[in-house]
Symmetry: C2
Subunit: 256 residues, 2 copies
């Protein structure tokens, strides 16, 4: 395991360029072939998979840091990212993990700024699986989509960050529309239901789902149907983007 | 303006006890006499009013730090506080404000950790105005409730933190119940409507409001009426706490 100059520099002097004690982590959801996936990186030095994450430049907005990190680690740009939670437990294992890491690399000094505790701000995003072309930087060796229900071993507390992001996403289903950027431009009612079921991790009643989701008024039924899949070819729908955006801004269901 | 030992110590060695570059700020809403109020402190050294805010101990959960800060600065305990936004703009004026502060106190060294940029995590809470007995610590000289629509001059970007908290609270009205802890145990429909109107900053149609809020199913109508206020004495209501809690957990209106 070789530590290159970039990483040694970060260890020794990174605190001159980056804020201390605070970082960001990105939970990037995609939907493909009936599976809810998240994007993970194989960390170069730590053992196991990691969320795309990074530090905040001393003169950089935290939101910009999240976008820069995501682009550096995955090649993804122009993604709408939303802060969903600050992970600030005292026992977050950052120090322990970092210490182990540097010890393995033969670095003895454990007073460095990267050994200190980091509070991390979780950002989540829903992206079009087909448009994402994962790439990665010097801190990771692989980028891969994983089924959120079949995750590999992850570093630190990243598994619990994913669990919290999924819980947040599930709650959001109750008051915000999802689907745009997770589904193709036109989709059938069964496909939309499958998306909701996959996020919720349970099956839904078909008629009840259709009634409720149509009641939100964000869907437009198209003239054509998807043929050859089921005996009764289902209609295609697309989102009415004006109403979709209104529902995003104002929430769904309860408007005073 | 005298700097006591406690504050000199914080300036010189606080980074040994607290995390750097990250702080918390509390937006505490109360409702009284038809006004939505927030609790502010008169900062001892900066000019102007400030949100109750503080630092995070190196071995302290961030949520605990928020509660400790609130208690230290206001005497309020056992308050449900919720993170609502991380304020991480690069140009947050912390450094500038701190620098001015210490210069006025005759401290020349501007390399101290408190001159660095701070990202702050905003917490908000809705409290029973009548139960709050504001007190304060060595960093402030007064604690006072202000009408959120008639705020005094505030330090740094605190006015915009309040504006964002209010916007967050307004959005929450669309999918979460409010009222418990802001209203007395029993209240009339006009009183509940007034709370919503005050938060939203606009009037609502009486019949529409009543129909929608009753539709959520979290209210229980009592047998007694409030007499002597209006010709038609309005019924009292109270929250059905079981259903209120369910609505808090699951959101309102759209349940799959």
């Amino acid at each position: 395991m070789a530590f290159n100059q970039e990483i040694k520099q970060l260890f020794a002097k990174g605190h001159e360029s980056y804020l201390r004690n605070i970082s960001i982590d990105c939970i990037i959801f995609g939907f493909n072939a009936g599976e809810l996936k998240i994007l993970l990186l194989k960390a170069k030095f730590a053992r196991g998979w990691a969320l795309p994450g990074g530090l905040i430049g001393r003169e950089e907005d935290i939101d910009s840091a999240a976008h820069r990190t995501l682009e550096e680690r995955t090649g993804l740009v122009d993604i709408y990212m939303q802060q969903f939670k600050v992970f600030g437990q005292a026992d977050r294992a950052t120090q322990v993990v970092n210490k182990k890491l540097w010890e393995e690399a033969g670095i003895k000094n454990d007073k460095g700024w990267l050994f200190e505790r980091f509070i991390t701000v979780g950002y989540y995003a829903l992206v079009d699986f087909n448009k994402a072309t994962p790439s990665f930087d010097g801190f990771s060796t692989e980028a891969e989509w994983f089924n959120v229900y079949e995750l590999p071993e992850m570093i630190m507390d990243h598994a619990s960050l994913v669990a919290d992001a999924l819980e947040f996403l599930r709650l959001q289903l109750n008051y915000r529309p999802v689907g745009y950027s997770l589904l193709p431009e036109k989709f059938t009612m069964p496909e939309l239901q499958k998306l909701y079921e996959t996020i919720l991790g349970r099956t839904l009643d078909r008629r009840n789902f259709q009634r409720k989701i149509l009641g939100v008024g964000i869907l437009k039924r198209l003239k054509d149907r998807k043929v050859g899949v089921t005996p009764k070819a289902p209609y295609y729908y697309r989102f009415d983007m004006k109403k979709y955006q209104q529902a995003l801004s104002n929430g769904m269901g309860f408007q005073l």
